[in-house]
């Protein structure tokens, strides 16, 4: 039996340009399948992963936005972004592909404290 340690995954990478966004998602889904509670935080360039209307056909790549929308089906529902980051790229919640929880930047520290283990991508 696997101990139910809670995991926070911090996403700081934009989609498509690097493979980090994909690799992070694969780890999140796996941990969730192993019944470990997973929270996802998207900060900095990581926020770009959530922008809607992605259409990567010409790149021959999978639609990252669609893969993220599958998260609730894997019982991953704690998805955080910061108000400051959203404002800094001039977008609103309407520009995002899925519902997220908005937090203030200074709440990041408590997210880290609350979880047993923290991974970054």
């Amino acid at each position: 039996m696997i101990d139910k340690k809670s995991i926070l995954i911090i996403n700081q990478s934009a989609p498509y340009g690097s493979s980090k966004a994909r690799e992070s998602l694969d780890v999140a889904l796996t941990c969730s399948i192993f019944e470990m509670p997973v929270s996802l935080l998207f900060i900095g360039d990581g926020l770009y992963q959530l922008i809607n209307n992605q259409s990567p056909d010409a790149l021959n790549m999978k639609k990252h936005e669609a893969m993220l929308s599958a998260l609730p089906m894997y019982d991953i529902e704690k998805i955080y972004i910061t108000e400051e980051d959203l404002e800094s790229i001039g977008l609103t919640e309407n520009d995002l592909a899925m519902p997220v929880t908005l937090i203030q930047r200074d709440a990041i520290a408590s997210l880290i404290q609350q979880n047993d283990s923290v991974l970054t991508f």
């Binding site: 340009g17 360039d45 209307n53 010409a58 790149l59 790229i89």
Partner: protein, 99 residues
């Protein structure tokens, strides 16, 4: 005249600063891959020192579409397809990649 091609997000301020320091009148900037995020209105302060008559600004269409930015770009940037990338490469006598 030089074509400057950049592929990193606007977060990489020093990379953008170095590129901007390398510009001469008549040069062009093309944003590709993760650099297309720099064409968002919110990041236009990066390019504020540039006169539009002087430096041509464009971003690669396939990368814009992939990232869902089609309706979100600053009007300062024109969208070019792969043929446009090749055309820009021919029109300038050298290409500098900032990565």
């Amino acid at each position: 005249m030089t074509l400057h091609v950049i592929n990193k997000t606007p977060q990489n301020k020093s990379l953008y600063l170095n590129m901007l320091n390398g510009l001469s009148s008549g040069d062009a900037i093309l944003l590709i891959e993760d650099a297309v995020y720099s064409a968002l209105e919110a990041h236009q302060s990066l390019f504020k020192a540039l006169s539009p008559d002087d430096i041509q600004l464009s971003a690669l269409e396939a990368d814009i579409q992939a990232r869902g930015l089609e309706d979100k770009l600053s009007p300062r940037f024109s969208s070019v397809n792969d043929q446009g990338f090749v055309k820009l490469s021919c029109e300038h006598d050298k290409i500098v990649s900032w990565y």
